[in-house]
Symmetry: C2
Subunit: 223 residues, 2 copies
DNA sequence: TAGTGGTCTAGACCACGGT
DNA sequence: CCGTGGTCTAGACCACTAA
């Protein structure tokens, strides 16, 4: 059997393809939190031998999506309330730092871009386009986080966020109105180049998002 | 050839052994930042075949110690001034959050343990035992960071810290006196269960440590 | 168009857990 | 003490690079 011959995507290895597909399968709920991931099963599922599967699992462990125990096997990361809370606290800490450090580097062009995205975001909210609004919201925060040019910090919050983000899609949000308000406050602080105010608003914003998601998970669990 | 037969350490796989040895070799300077890591070389060096080496490299990439490019190979992570600065900013953000969240959970026993470690620390400093003082300093901060019980946050700051820590050993510190003072201030805030004061002191403490290390790297580079 | 070196497969090895 | 399934080895395969 040839290895990567058939329809070989350019500059893409087998393990990276498996990793991306497996990540997608986990985040879309094909493999739910806690389930065992048997290498042989995955091997037949993705049509490759065992080693590329293992490499993919190693990498997904690095992303926090998978638990991997020597001689024991792999399982999808459990996400409980505490995990969600801990992750949001990490995000809060880092985003607050990033906005505080980033404000001095913000150009007028950056600011105008933010205003533009916020307008599109509010329109998407108005029209009830949940998918688009989540995407625009992500762009909004990504631009702000990027101002400080701290690649390590960006990697930390990008890396372990997949599972949380899938929960946000699943449970939605009950505070879109409030989010819009937070964004406007933040834009106002940014316009004034007020780093401390922007940091305080960001901190508050993330904590409210955390409390909202956890509340929704709780009620869903009871329902 | 048997695989893990000779002197098989209990419950330890080949890749984990290679990973630990390779990490040690990187942090101790056997493989310096930027150097290429050839799988075949490592394969002969550690006396195993190529796959365990690759798995070890995948994991070390997850720890940020190694860069890994598909079809290109691996290299030891470059550490420049910006990397050090970025990592310290991440640490500052997370430790500040941890101490703020942790203070309400601190028991009297925790506090007494901290006082005890600080006494040992100051004595080690007095005696000029650098290795011991670094170790005690680590214990001190680990206890404080652990109060909030945020495993994810702990993982983030533990994970990518190896390279920075090796720099601290290499370049030392010019502010041991100042560190002792910071610790005492911090203990005082903790005694009063003043989370905000403790957070402010922590933030300041980490930033000073960053500036000190970077200054030392700079002067060493010029010297 | 070699040569170098990363990647994949197949099968053997063996740790662990249930019988 | 056997079955299941994770792990390792050897060698083949092939992507990239330098002439």
């Amino acid at each position: 059997m040839m290895q990567t011959s058939s329809e070989s995507s350019f500059n893409e290895t087998t393990y990276s393809r498996v990793r991306d597909k497996l990540r997608e399968d986990i985040l879309s709920g094909v493999f739910k939190p806690g389930v065992r991931l048997r290498i042989i099963d995955l091997s037949t599922r993705y049509g490759v031998s065992q080693m590329p599967i293992r490499e993919a699992l190693q990498q997904l462990q690095g992303e926090g999506l998978v638990n991997l125990l020597p001689q024991k096997g792999a399982s999808v990361r459990e996400v409980d309330e505490k995990f969600v809370s801990d992750m949001y606290d990490v995000r809060m800490a880092i985003e607050t730092m990033l906005v505080r450090n980033g404000v001095p580097y913000m150009s007028d062009h950056d600011y105008m871009k933010l205003v533009e995205i916020e307008e599109q975001y509010e329109q998407a909210v108005e029209e009830g386009d949940v998918s688009l609004s989540l995407k625009l919201n992500e762009s909004f925060h990504k631009i702000i986080n990027g101002l400080a040019q701290n690649d390590e910090a960006m990697r930390v919050i990008d890396r372990h966020w997949g599972l949380i983000d899938s929960l946000r899609h699943k449970y939605g949000s009950s505070r879109v109105k409030d989010v819009v308000n937070d964004h406007r406050l933040l834009l106002h602080a940014l316009k004034n180049r007020d780093a401390e105010a922007a940091a305080a608003i960001t901190s508050d914003h993330v904590i409210k998002a955390k409390d909202d998601l956890i509340a929704r998970i709780k009620t869903a669990g009871k329902g």
